[in-house]
């Protein structure tokens, strides 16, 4: 026999039990293309359903308005969502497990300051029989100080007997008691190069969340920033913005040929300091971040002692346009480019669009132009008879 909701709620009358319909379940399914793998799609469904069923109840019970306070793109990576309820922030963790002997909360909701909440609610969802229940809650402090941390799946867990069961305790506490948050260690600031590298690595398709693929400090810092998380999410679901597409440029940009600027400096001795008083990324601090990659170009015997680096900087402009700055710089600790090195921008018909040539004692040469998404161009680097062409699409 199957226990009905009425039977179950009689056994735990102090808990909140809620029924949901088939149509509510249908409505809760997100579009397939919104998540990159099936488990994330199901996770999003479970969270959306829980949100839809709980919100009106919480609003009535707490006598305050309830607002979703976390992004839906988080479900690509981790379960749970946040609600703002008056002055309090709640994180809801839905789960389909039958055993409710422990409540596990992903570390992201506890140790990322922007995601952490005052209260954490454990919700059991039974999709087959169409009900859910809130079976306990904890404060941030309790979870952080009394919870068991499991480095294997990066969760904090509390046993059922250590949770508060009665939701009235929550409603009254959030009105009459100060918030109980433990101290949260600040997360590191990521450099743009790190962000690009992480997004490049974690953005590759996989059938599971990339949340455990790097240290929590780096992962947390990446996930905490809306921009970075959005970029990573878009990369994974294949819905990249124009800027990300232009960073992609060609498949080859993510091959070993295309490097971050710090790698160009460290490995190939590319001299960036000689230019404009610093690197492009530093100049852009505070603006929307530009992205930069570079590759070494060796034109054989012509440049045997002086290989050069082609660097592409990309940054957004207004009106759906993107600024593209191309630079050719010396490497191997050299201060100057060899003379007569050409850098030519060709349009999609192969016609010369822009051109520059190095002279005696040039630190670098550069070309700058704007483009719209979808436009194609090529960059040709040449010295004498030797040349190399790279194709790009904005």
């Amino acid at each position: 026999m199957t226990l009905t909701l009425a039977q179950l709620s009689l056994a735990c009358p102090d808990q909140l039990w809620l029924e949901f319909s088939e149509s509510q379940q249908k409505t809760a399914w997100p579009a397939t293309q919104d998540y990159s793998y099936e488990a994330a799609l199901h996770r999003a469904f479970l969270n959306r359903l829980t949100l839809a069923v709980l919100s009106p109840e919480f609003s009535a019970a707490s006598e305050t308005s309830v607002q979703l306070a976390s992004s839906e793109n988080l479900w690509e990576f981790v379960t749970g969502f946040a609600l703002n309820l008056g002055k309090s922030r709640l994180v809801i963790i839905p789960s389909e497990t039958i055993d409710t002997d422990e409540f596990s909360v992903p570390q992201e909701w506890v140790d990322i300051p922007a995601l952490a909440a005052d209260y954490y609610l454990a919700v059991q969802v039974n999709l087959e029989d169409g009900w859910l229940r809130v079976w306990g809650f904890s404060t941030h402090r309790k979870l952080k100080t009394e919870g068991r941390y499991d480095g294997g799946d990066r969760t904090y867990s509390l046993d059922v007997e250590d949770l508060f069961e009665n939701l009235n305790t929550l409603w009254v506490s959030q009105q009459l008691c100060p918030a109980e948050k433990a101290e949260i260690q600040p997360l590191p600031t990521l450099s743009h190069n790190q962000v690009e590298r992480f997004i490049g690595d974690l953005g590759k398709p996989s059938l599971y969340s990339p949340r455990l693929k790097m240290s929590f400090a780096h992962w947390g810092a990446l996930l905490a920033a809306d921009d970075f998380r959005e970029q990573l999410y878009n990369r994974r679901i294949g819905k990249e913005s124009a800027m990300q597409k232009v960073v992609n440029l060609t498949q080859s940009i993510y091959s070993n040929l295309w490097l971050f600027l710090d790698e160009l400096v460290e490995v190939h001795g590319v001299n960036l300091l000689a230019a404009r008083g610093g690197s492009r990324t530093e100049e852009n601090e505070g603006d929307r971040p530009s992205q930069a990659r570079g590759r070494m170009i060796d034109l054989g015997i012509q440049l045997v002692r002086h290989p050069v680096a082609l660097i592409v900087y990309l940054s957004p402009e207004s009106n759906n346009k993107w600024n593209i700055l191309l630079q050719l710089r010396p490497s191997g600790g050299q201060t100057y480019l060899p003379p007569d090195v050409q850098m030519i921008v060709l349009d999609d018909a192969g016609e010369v669009f822009l051109e520059a040539r190095s002279r005696q004692a040039d630190n670098w040469i550069q070309l700058e132009f704007s483009g719209e998404p979808g436009e194609r161009f090529s960059v040709k680097v040449a010295l004498g008879d030797a040349s190399l062409v790279e194709d790009f699409v904005i």
Partner: protein
């Protein structure tokens, strides 16, 4: 420490419940005798908290110290019984008896008693309150495992278990390291990758696809520690998950033997009325004082609540005054579904809790935290039961006993019968110059009158419908019995003179 207090402690650590032929507390003779000797040798253990810690330490120190574990199991048995009773009453499953429910609760405690008793803080709550959530959930999970659902498939079973549940199952299945960690990691990978996308109701979940198997293996390879070990292969993760499934299936078979069947040579004796009543009496006196202090504030809160919600008082009395008259019955009385009754009661209690917290904060002039509020929430439930039973229903029954012409003559009989420690019907009847059968007839008559009067009161004051009066019959009979067992006979006798 008084002998009486010692008896209470001994009873707490050596009494468990038998449900057949009818539920009753029973003392384990061996546990009792051994505890008496232990307390004689160690006077410092004459304290419930100290003794509890002692048994926890003993049981934790040595897994083979079954005696210490048995004391802990006896200590928590009241919680097992109450959780079994409440879930059994709620579920009414025809294929499972109350004894089965108790068995499930005990099986759960057999694994967790040491850990839970170690964490238990007597100053915060009663053991049955503290253990109620995990026990109810354990019973509920166990009963639901028999449901014909997706969980019957291996993949459904793996998805429905918790981390802790799997770990316990694997350990009980004698899986040791390093295999245990590899099983665990594979299960984690399975959860990360597998999604039961839109499986129909009661359909068995399908096996992961070849692509998913590859992804699970890849996940395990990435996450294993140290990473230099050989990569996981698909056949390997399949095999490891099968071990998990077998362990989980094995863990659903409860293997627990009650204390008496474990020790067939033991003599059992029914716990004396004295011990039980003494313990509850102790509890009642301390609790009564504490609850009395809250009454002025909360009683006036109920009055103001009833101004906005006229049904509030009636609903609270029915919920807290009558054991066994559950929210389904209350729903029928009000013509609404049980879940709506639950919401309304919750909102009434929220109002009362807010009043109580505000009042308490002014009393101690301290800002409360969530734990304080939660403790007050538990206390509020206790107060509501005390208030509805003692201050309202018992008070009415006491007045009826004093004023009803047919009852006031029987106060002496009741005093003799209920006021003594051990009931000897023949001696009481002889003392009253009546036959034992006459004594029984009079007792039945008293109970019937009291119950009838109570029903009249419920009808007149709470406007209880006839169908509800019929449904409440069993609960009101129990209430009358409890009242008679605890009525203030000394005062009644004095007033009669």
């Amino acid at each position: 420490m008084t002998d009486r207090m010692t008896e209470i402690i001994i009873a707490r650590f050596s009494t468990y419940y038998q449900v057949n032929p009818h539920p009753r507390p029973v003392q384990d003779y061996r546990l009792r005798q051994h505890l008496i000797r232990l307390l004689q040798q160690h006077p410092e253990l004459h304290d419930e908290t100290v003794l509890l810690r002692y048994f926890c330490n003993q049981a934790a120190k040595s897994n083979s110290d079954l005696l210490a574990l048995n004391y802990l199991l006896a200590y928590v048995d009241i919680a097992c019984y109450l959780a079994a009773k409440s879930t059994y009453d709620a579920f009414q499953t025809p294929e499972l008896t109350l004894a089965d429910y108790l068995q499930i609760a005990r099986a759960y405690m057999a694994n967790r008693a040491v850990e839970l008793c170690t964490k238990f803080d007597r100053t915060q709550s009663k053991i049955e309150t503290y253990l109620s959530p995990p026990l109810r959930d354990a019973i509920m999970s166990e009963v639901r495992k028999n449901e014909p659902t997706q969980r019957q498939s291996d993949w459904g079973l793996l998805r429905s278990t918790s981390k802790k549940g799997l770990k316990t199952a694997l350990q009980n299945f004698a899986i040791g390291e390093p295999k245990l960690s590899r099983c665990f990691l594979t299960w984690q990978g399975f959860l990360e990758v597998y999604a039961p996308v839109k499986a129909g109701k009661n359909q068995r979940l399908p096996e992961p696809t070849a692509e998913q198997w590859e992804a699970i293996a890849q996940f395990c390879t990435e996450q294993q520690f140290p990473q230099s070990i050989q990569p996981f292969t698909v056949p390997e993760v399949k095999a490891l998950l099968q071990i998990c499934v077998k362990a989980l299936r094995a863990s659903t078979h409860i293997q627990f033997h009650p204390l008496d069947t474990e020790n067939p040579e033991l003599q059992l004796e029914i716990a004396t009325q004295f011990e039980q009543e003494a313990w509850y009496g102790e509890q009642d006196t301390a609790k009564g004082d504490r609850l009395q202090q809250m009454t002025t504030e909360l009683a006036s809160a109920i009055v103001s609540l009833s101004r906005d919600f006229p049904d509030a008082r009636k609903m609270l009395i029915l919920e807290h005054g009558f054991t066994g008259f559950n929210q389904s019955y209350i729903g029928k009385e009000f013509g609404i579904k049980q879940y709506k009754i639950s919401r309304q009661l919750t909102s009434y209690k929220k109002y009362l809790l807010t009043s109580l917290v505000k009042w308490s904060q002014t009393q101690v002039n301290v800002t409360f935290n969530v734990k304080d509020v939660d403790r007050l929430s538990t206390l509020l439930d206790e107060w509501l039961t005390w208030y509805c039973q003692n201050a309202i229903l018992y008070k009415f029954l006491e007045t009826t006993l004093k004023l009803h012409p047919a009852l006031k003559l029987e106060v002496t009989l009741l005093c003799r019968y209920y006021g003594c420690e051990r009931v000897d019907e023949r001696a009481i009847a002889q003392n009253l110059n009546i036959k034992p059968t006459e004594l029984q007839r009079k007792l039945v008559q008293v109970k019937t009158i009291l119950q009838t009067q109570l029903h009249n009161w419920l009808h007149q004051n709470l406007a209880l419908k006839p169908c509800s009066l019929s449904a409440i019959d069993k609960s009101s009979a129990l209430l009358v019995e409890q009242f008679l067992a605890n009525a203030p006979y000394a005062l009644l006798t004095l007033e009669r003179r």
